[in-house]
């Protein structure tokens, strides 16, 4: 299989899987889930199969269609996209295993619909990862928004519909209202939207217009949840937990920050932007979001909402790291995408497991739960430590690089923000860990429960292990990122 | 002398128009509209537009009046509501009128033979008619051949109107009208059969009207006249018959199926002549290929299409009249 075929397969496989799921669902639920898992595994094989070639310095590309002269749907594999694709395809397997346990354990309705749109969302994520130019990226970005809408509104009651409306409203509004004009603007001044190492905008645009265009891009990518475009994330908490995991760890928010990193590195070019004074505001916006979201998280009583605000803060880490505009910080940004993905998916899996097993959602209900669900809460602890950035977790690695980049740039605002937010993270995560392990259950639970279904425990154990593995064996990840910033190192 | 007469007629026209708009009695307004049409026809005649004058008289003063009266019989003769936003409307109207009058000051001088209108295309028509078609009435030549495609379109406009009225009136009214017919009206479906004098005079007139129609139809190449006028005159004759003898009898003489056949047939005849031109190796509506001699071909073509026009116009107008007249007795 040539690399071109592999790229195409990465897009088509999940869609074929979706079709297969629909057909299999008419026969039996077991078959349906078998198809899901098989598709996820096949996708991972295909995507990971691209890795050796990429490591060897190849950049396979594929043109799908030319919409209008000069504007085409084109795919191109590069290190950052590869990282994202590998992450998303790998986590899809784990998430599917988890979903099976969650959906069955929770007796959710319309499970077929759930699996189908999940697969479509993964296909869109692959498209975003491999997009070779802005317009392709935008196309799959919108498909991702639309295909996750049925997932978010899964329950279908009035409250869910209202929240889903916020979700869709914010994402579509920002993408059409800001991102699209930014894209057209880019094409208009640069004549192209291709992602090219070193950027395409240098010399094509100058002065305050740079800052304005950057602003249109950054706030246009609502999925990155830079304040004030973050409202959709807490709203989307109405979704089933596997969906939240998808949104927060695998696809949606990652697609957002990924897009921003890609735009800064491949469109503006790090050096060009570093030299442009009007782009400095991005760092402040990201820093503000980190602190503000952490403070809000501190006040949450609902576990999933707390995790949502934590996500907002962590995403801005990535954006801030990128905005430092130094190679080491870019490596930190990319690593943080991975580290946060592993850590946050673990946390959500744990939250979902608690919900399925104990029907508990509020922080105060978690007293002493560690004794009933030791596996789950161990994983949760590891995830929380990674969020704070304590060794031996992946979060430490990424923070290390970000800090190194900040020192490289003598950027004390970034350094201060990282330190402050680490304290804040500790302040809202550690009490939960403490409560879970060392407090006594205040009231006996309505039913005597143990761990969640096996598949869920398995999934969260694996992701917790990955979080630690990222600390221990981060060689390949860093190698990819080294290639990413090669031109600027 | 003719200048004074023109001014007089034009002024009368304006006065009539104001009266139409002012009166609350719709019957009066409709009759005044008939007078309006006659006046404007006379003005057209003064302006050397004999064909137009004849058409306006036949259609505007004749058919339109009958149709309006037919509609009034179904809807009531008095205008109840007043006017809305009179001042605003008047202001709008005044502004547009002044723009128009402003425009007129740059118009070419009235009757100036050097005006662009008379210099560019129309001299060609006068010569072309002599050369290619060889009939005296240039209007007929232009109408039938040079701009025959417009005339085809026009036949289809009439046809469309016929379809429209038939379609509208094929719907069953949802509620029966509560008010009865005017007390003075004739007995349903009977026409004026109980009124001796109109009946005798009318019946004597009908053959002459038909004869005149035929004359107008086929004399169109030589003098004012042609399919439209003739169709309207035929329709007038049948309508008169229906008024005198009653709907039922008129429909017995010319059943509805025949009328629809006429409507479609005329239009088809016209189109067929056009297609024939195409099939015989020239363009659509090129009549010169209809005979060995192109000039004869043109003449044949014009006679045929004028016949088509007449048939459709008569068919449509009679159908529309019946549709209105029959509506009451449904």
């Amino acid at each position: 299989m040539s690399a071109q075929h592999a790229i195409l397969a990465a897009l088509v496989l999940p869609l074929v899987g979706a079709l297969g799921i629909a057909l299999a669902a008419r026969i039996s639920a077991n078959l349906r889930e078998a198809v899901t898992l098989a598709t996820a595994a096949a996708l991972a094989v295909v995507v990971w199969g691209l890795l050796p070639e990429l490591m060897a310095g190849e950049r396979p590309a594929l043109r799908l269609a030319e919409i209008v002269p000069g504007i085409e749907i084109a795919l191109r594999v590069e290190p950052l996209g590869m990282l994202f694709a590998a992450l998303a395809s790998g986590l899809w397997i784990i998430n599917s295993i988890y979903s099976i346990g969650y959906m069955r354990g929770n007796r959710e309705a319309k499970q077929t619909r759930f699996y189908i749109f999940f697969a479509i969302a993964i296909a869109a994520a692959m498209g975003i990862a491999f997009a070779g130019n802005l317009i392709t990226l935008f196309l799959f970005y919108e498909i991702l928004t639309l295909s996750t809408y049925p997932l978010v509104s899964h329950k279908g009651d009035a409250n869910t519909v209202r929240s889903a409306r916020v979700y869709l409203g914010v994402l579509l509004t920002t993408s059409i209202g800001l991102l699209l004009p930014a894209i057209v603007w880019t094409y208009y001044v640069a004549g192209t939207g291709d992602f090219v190492a070193g950027g395409i905008l240098a010399g094509k645009i100058e002065g305050p217009a740079i800052g304005l265009l950057l602003g249109l891009f950054v706030f246009g990518v609502g999925k990155a949840a830079i304040m004030p475009m973050h409202r959709w994330l807490p709203a989307a908490m109405v979704a089933p937990t596997p969906v939240s995991a998808l949104l927060h760890a695998v696809a949606v928010v990652k697609a957002g920050v990924f897009t921003i990193v890609k735009i800064i590195i491949y469109l503006f070019g790090v050096d060009f932007l570093f030299a442009a004074p009007s782009s400095g505001w991005l760092l402040y916006a990201a820093a503000f979001t980190i602190i503000a979201a952490s403070v809000v998280a501190l006040r949450q009583q609902n576990l999933k909402r707390l995790l949502a605000y934590s996500t907002i803060a962590q995403l801005s880490y990535v954006v801030m790291a990128t905005a430092i505009l130094k190679p080491l910080a870019e490596i930190g940004a990319a690593t943080h995408m991975v580290a946060h993905a592993f850590g946050k998916i673990t946390l959500f899996f744990a939250a979902g497991a608690i919900y399925v097993a104990a029907k508990k959602t509020e922080l105060q209900q978690l007293r002493g739960i560690g004794r009933r669900m030791p596996w789950t809460m161990t994983a949760f602890t590891i995830g929380a430590l990674s969020m704070i950035g304590v060794p031996p977790t992946g979060g430490f690695v990424s923070k290390w690089y970000i800090l190194a980049g900040a020192f490289q740039a003598d950027n004390y605002i970034a350094i201060g923000t990282i330190i402050a937010s680490t304290v804040l993270n500790a302040a809202y995560f550690l009490p939960i860990v403490y409560m879970a392990w060392f407090s006594r259950e205040s009231t006996p639970p309505q039913r005597d429960h143990g761990e969640a279904p096996f598949s869920m425990v398995l999934a969260l154990t694996v992701t917790a292990a990955l979080t630690i593995a990222l600390f221990l064996f981060n060689g390949p990840v860093l190698e990819l990122e080294r290639q990413l910033v090669e031109g600027t190192l | 002398m003719s200048v004074v007469f023109s001014v007089f007629m034009l002024t009368l026209l304006v006065i009539t128009t104001f009266a139409i708009v002012r009166t609350r009695h719709l019957f009066v307004a409709v009759v005044l509209t008939g007078i309006f049409s006659l006046l404007i026809a006379a003005i057209f005649f003064l302006l050397d537009a004999a064909d137009v004058a004849l058409t306006e008289a036949a259609i505007g003063a004749g058919i339109a009046t009958v149709l309006f009266l037919g509609a009034l019989a179904l809807t009531g003769e008095h205008e109840r509501g007043g006017s809305r936003n009179r001042l605003l409307s008047l202001a709008v109207v005044a502004v547009i009128a002044s723009i128009l009058i402003y425009a007129t000051f740059d118009n070419p001088r009235f009757g100036d033979p050097q005006a662009p209108v008379h210099q560019h295309v129309s001299p060609w028509y006068l010569d072309g008619t002599r050369e290619y078609i060889d009939i005296p009435n240039v209007v007929t030549a232009v109408l039938g051949s040079f701009r025959g495609y417009d005339t085809l379109g026009e036949v289809f406009v009439v046809f469309t109107a016929g379809i429209g009225v038939l379609f509208l009136f094929s719907a069953q009214p949802r509620r029966r009208r509560s008010s009865s017919q005017p007390a003075t009206g004739p007995i349903e479906g009977e026409g004026l059969r109980h009124y001796l004098i109109p009946r005798v005079v009318g019946r004597m007139l009908i053959p002459f009207i038909l004869l005149f129609g035929l004359y107008v139809q086929f004399h169109g190449e030589y003098g004012p006249g042609g399919g439209f006028q003739a169709g309207a005159i035929f329709a007038a004759a049948v309508i008169l018959y229906a008024l005198l003898e009653g709907e039922t009898r008129a429909l017995r003489a010319l059943p509805a199926s025949v009328l629809t056949g006429l409507m479609a047939g005329g239009a088809l005849l016209y189109s067929a002549v056009g297609v024939a031109g195409m099939l015989l190796g020239s363009h659509f509506l090129d009549y010169s290929v209809l005979a060995a001699d192109p000039v004869v071909g043109q003449q044949i073509g014009i006679v045929l299409i004028e016949a088509g026009v007449g048939i459709t116009v008569a068919g449509v107008l009679i159908s529309v009249f019946h549709a209105f007249a029959a509506r009451e007795s449904v």
Binding site: - | L13, R80, G81, A115, V138, V139, F228
Partner: protein, 118 residues
């Protein structure tokens, strides 16, 4: 002659606007149609006026010798068409009015709007 020409055009403008006034200001649908009919007739006058040639005659070739001026046949042809278009529109419009009367029991615009609002 100059003035007579202008007078023709002014009458055109006045007729046009009188008709237009009836269309926009009157509630009665038949009255609107009458206004519309006047509106259209005014345009006929515009065209025919411009076709007139001083000292000309109706464009019928036979009766006269060479050198005879003829009025412009083209506006006449156009207006023949326009007259027929006008009556067609009127016929259809009247049909609609009659149907409105049957369905609503009135042909006054404001009353119809009232009925629809209920």
């Amino acid at each position: 002659m100059e003035l007579l020409g202008l007078y023709h055009y002014w009458v055109f403008a006045i007729l046009l606007m009188t008709g237009f006034y009836a269309v926009i200001a009157k509630y009665n649908l038949i009255k609107k149609l009458l206004g519309l009919s006047i509106f259209q007739s005014a345009v006929f006058l515009l065209y025919i006026t411009m076709g007139k040639i001083e000292g000309g005659t109706a464009p019928i070739l036979q009766a006269y010798g060479e050198g005879q001026l003829f009025s412009n046949p083209l506006p006449q042809v156009l207006i023949l068409t326009a007259i027929v278009v006008g009556i067609s529109t009127m016929a259809l419009g009247l049909g609609v009015v009659v149907r409105i009367k049957e369905e609503y029991g009135t042909i006054e615009e404001h009353e119809i709007r009232e009925i629809d609002r209920q």
